[in-house]
């Protein structure tokens, strides 16, 4: 048991706040690596998040967590005051710290101490704050001793150079020579290991260690950065070496700030004068979420919002009921005064209900940022793990959708992003050969479109090849050669959604074995959404997720099938047509109509649901629905109208019914069934494939 001094309410407040701060940390740190980012502002934001979280951790008495955050804060403080510049090692260490903080927060949530050992992370953070490379990564191999008793001429400084040569390099000797030549060009090399004479074609080292007198770190930096396959680190070596014991008191001499692989866009700032914008100690209390004086916010629990939404659903159902009652009264008594009064009141109640529904729905809306925020980190980690270079572009993160949808969309997105990096994007060498930029593009974009949210996951990688998919389907026994040949390109692409189907040539730990894509589709469809694919060989692939704004209440087209009422979600409906039954033709054993010059397959709902053909009175209606890139006509006897429906489960006793996602209570109190176009299409495909159909 974790011993903390806080009530459940306090814990809840802490957890909510901690979650936001951790996200800010993660997001900020990942963005920090982007060289084009405004690092000064970012560091400030990250520092504040760490600082506020430290305060909260201290408040609840979690001293281990507070200590960890203090170490992060100290390191950030040195970045903030430009006494250190951002390096991958620093970002790694801070992310490791953030990860550990997350686990501490989880401890508070569960009340279970996890027995984490903070020592290694603390050591890394403190070492970096002291201006020393993380011992874990860089300790070995830099044995060259600094030169003693040298005079540093005016206008020059002593720098220690640590260059790591990529293990992939085919000619490390040549790279090392380039480094030494560059150093000699920029300054005076006092000592180095290896030396120029040591180098030949057979040299197989992976690092160059040197001490150099040079006028500035920038000049060294610039030259070293131009050498490929070399990771340079430039440390100031003159004067007083930074002390491990005093991480808080960095020297404020005229020494240029230690510069490690600072990008040219952000020259190593000097710590001269030492007074950074006068807010050195004044950031305390300026915690996240407390700074806004204009908009008044109230935190409310998700349960309360859910309850509100349920009540609104009931109200919508009752409103529909009242409208029905009114219609009956008008039929019975005509437009008498009393009935008209009722109508008036009802019209008002109706509009208030609509507004209320709208407002409550809006209150439950969350910007998709909450999901997207996690991706910079995920993409960074995956790219590293898979040896890919990825530049992530996020668009439309302010797009809002219902909380229930947000929760469900995270996993499918994660899967698509993984796939894009693992299978979509080529490794840098391959991209270079193809004449593409080495950095692959991964675009995550959201936008709203009528009552939908569209999320796109786009890569500029290999693209998908319908021929290869057909072939793979045959090889793996999913289809016979003839059936495969008959598939259109779009249908062939859809093969990737078949359970167990994978085109990955090798099985990687990241994407698994293609188990995911069918799960992605199932999850999205369960939400009443759809997934479609656009791809061009060699140019890339885009997965488009179309999602409803909310799951609880949605507009539907009500239709009649053999006397029963069915509601078809309007999100799936393209249009409704009245057709003569004679115009429904049988083409290759399937019914279809020709509309606007194209053939639309038609399914009789009476036959699908009840195995009966309705009485032919010359005409019927065809509701064209669209699902995952396929259009399909549903033949029904009558169109009844448009209605807001509140979806409810049919109960476990009924189980899953193909073509039906649930029920809704209509104005007359009866239950109407809500159609699930996705599962209808799947059932149709299954039935077509089985010999009995």
């Amino acid at each position: 048991m974790l011993q903390l001094d806080l009530s459940p309410e306090e814990a809840e407040v802490f957890l909510q706040e901690a979650e936001e701060l951790l996200l800010a940390l993660d997001e900020g740190l990942v963005r920090l690596e982007d060289e084009s980012a405004d690092r000064a502002t970012l560091v400030q934001e990250i520092f504040r998040a760490a600082h506020t979280l430290k305060g909260s951790a201290g408040m609840i008495g979690h001293s281990q967590m507070a200590e960890l955050l203090h170490a992060m804060e100290s390191l950030l403080d040195r970045l903030r005051h430009s006494q250190l510049t951002v390096t991958p090692a620093i970002v790694d260490a801070l992310l490791a710290g953030a990860d550990m903080a997350r686990r501490f927060v989880a401890e508070v949530a569960t009340g279970q101490a996890s027995g984490l050992d903070t020592a290694p992370v603390l050591e890394r953070l403190r070492a970096l704050a002291a201006g020393v490379q993380a011992p874990l990564e860089q300790a070995a191999g830099w044995e060259l001793a600094p030169p003693e008793d040298i005079e540093v001429p005016e206008g020059q400084s002593l720098y220690e150079i640590r260059c790591t040569i990529s293990r992939e390099s085919v000619a490390p000797g040549a790279r090392a020579l380039q480094v030494l030549l560059a150093l000699a060009q920029a300054g005076h090399v006092l000592s180095s290991r290896p030396q120029v004479d040591d180098l030949d074609e057979d040299w197989e080292g992976d690092r160059v260690h040197a001490f150099v007198l040079a006028p500035s770190a920038e000049a060294l930096q610039k030259l070293l950065e131009s050498i490929s396959e070399v990771e340079p680190v430039i440390l100031p070596a003159g004067g007083e070496p930074p002390s491990l014991a005093q991480p808080q008191e960095p020297s404020r001499g005229e020494t240029p700030a230690p510069t490690e692989r600072a990008p040219s866009a952000q020259p190593a700032a000097k710590a001269e004068g030492g007074s950074p914008e006068g807010d050195g100690g004044g950031t305390k209390g300026n915690g996240a979420g407390k700074s806004d004086g204009q908009v008044k916010w109230v935190r409310t629990s998700v349960e309360r919002l859910d309850k509100l939404m349920n009540l609104v659903s009931e109200l919508v159902t009752d409103r529909n009921r009242l409208l029905q009652v009114r219609a009956n009264l008008v039929n019975q008594f005509g437009e008498q005064e009393g009935v008209m009064d009722l109508t008036e009141a009802l019209t008002h109640i109706s509009s208030v209900t609509d507004q209320l529904q709208d407002e409550v729905m809006r209150a439950r809306m969350v910007p998709i940022e909450h999901v997207f925020n996690k991706f910079p980190r995920v993409v960074r980690d995956l790219a590293r793990q898979l040896g890919k270079q990825v530049s992530l572009v996020i668009e439309g993160q302010e797009t809002e959708l219902d909380r229930t949808v947000i929760e469900e969309v995270n996993d499918p997105l994660l899967h698509l992003v993984r796939n894009a990096i693992d299978h979509g994007l080529e490794p840098p060498e391959e991209r270079r050969l193809l004449g593409k930029p080495e950095k692959g593009l991964l675009r995550l974009a959201a936008r709203s479109e009528e009552s939908h949210i569209i999320i796109e996951v786009q890569d500029d990688g290999r693209g998908m090849d319908p021929h290869a998919l057909r072939q793979a389907a045959v090889e793996r026994g999913f289809l016979d050669a003839q059936a495969a040949a008959q598939l259109g390109d779009q249908e062939a692409l859809e093969l990737i959604f078949a359970p167990g189907f994978s085109t990955a040539r090798k099985v990687s730990g990241v994407s698994g074995r293609g188990v995911g894509m069918d799960v992605v589709r199932t999850n999205i469809e369960r939400l009443g959404g759809s997934v479609s694919i656009r791809t061009e060989l060699g140019k890339g692939t885009t997965f488009e997720l179309k999602l409803p704004l909310t799951l609880a209440i949605f507009p539907a087209l009500t239709v009649e099938v053999l006397g029963s009422v069915y509601a078809i979600p309007l999100s799936a409906v393209v249009e409704a047509l009245q057709v003569r039954t004679a115009d429904i033709k049988t083409i290759r054993g399937r019914e279809a109509i020709v509309t606007r010059g194209r053939v639309l397959p038609v399914v009789s709902l009476a036959r699908f649901f009840y195995g009966q053909q309705p009485e032919d009175n010359g005409s019927c209606y065809v509701v064209e629905v669209r699902w995952g890139g396929t259009n399909l006509g549903l033949a029904v006897q009558r169109l009844l109208g448009r209605q807001e429906v509140v979806i409810k489960p049919l109960g476990r006793m009924v189980g899953e019914v193909p073509g039906i996602s649930g029920g809704t209570i209509m104005g007359d109190g009866r239950v109407a069934l809500i159609m699930d176009v996705a599962s209808l299409v799947r059932a149709l495909r299954r039935e077509r494939q089985s010999p009995s159909a």
Partner: protein
């Protein structure tokens, strides 16, 4: 039976209903309410014993026809026909269509005898025991949890 060993004055309370001219009893604690027939929406592509769903004060509730479930000849609905809404394990509700509900009855535990295939026309798996109410009258006590669980499995198996 287990109960026989414990004292003698323990009583159970049951709701008695009619099905194909026989009397059945279920534990009153499981019964949520008894409703007159109300409009049922049939759900296609489900087993025949799933009569459909009803609107039970805003909740959609599945309804099982016990005639069909037990393989008894299907009866016409009359004004006596009732829907007994019972609570399933796990809190969900299910309606059971029966020919009529006659009474609520208290029975001493010792009047319950183990099921006998000679008496019960239905699958004896779902019979908890037979209560002899008088010389003339027997009430078949149903093991509701077992019945509903098996029914659910049957329904889901049929859908797959």
């Amino acid at each position: 039976m287990q109960e026989q060993g414990k004292g003698s004055t323990r009583e159970i309370q049951i709701v008695v209903f009619q099905l194909a001219k026989e009397s059945y009893g279920i534990d009153i604690a499981k019964v949520q309410e008894i409703k007159a027939m109300s409009p049922i929406t049939a759900v296609p592509r489900t087993p025949a014993f799933i009569e459909g769903v009803i609107n039970l004060r805003g909740q959609i509730t599945p309804v099982v026809n016990l005639h069909t479930r037990f393989g008894l000849p299907k009866a016409e609905y009359t004004k006596e026909t009732r829907i007994i809404v019972v609570n399933m394990e796990g809190g969900e509700r299910v309606g059971l269509i029966v020919d009529g509900v006659s009474e609520v009855m208290r029975l001493p535990e010792e009047s319950i005898e183990p099921p006998s295939e000679l008496v019960a026309t239905i699958d004896s798996d779902f019979v908890r025991g037979i209560a002899k109410v008088s010389d003339e009258r027997l009430v078949i006590l149903l093991d509701l949890d077992k019945l509903l669980k098996a029914t659910r499995e049957l329904a889901i198996g049929a859908a797959a």
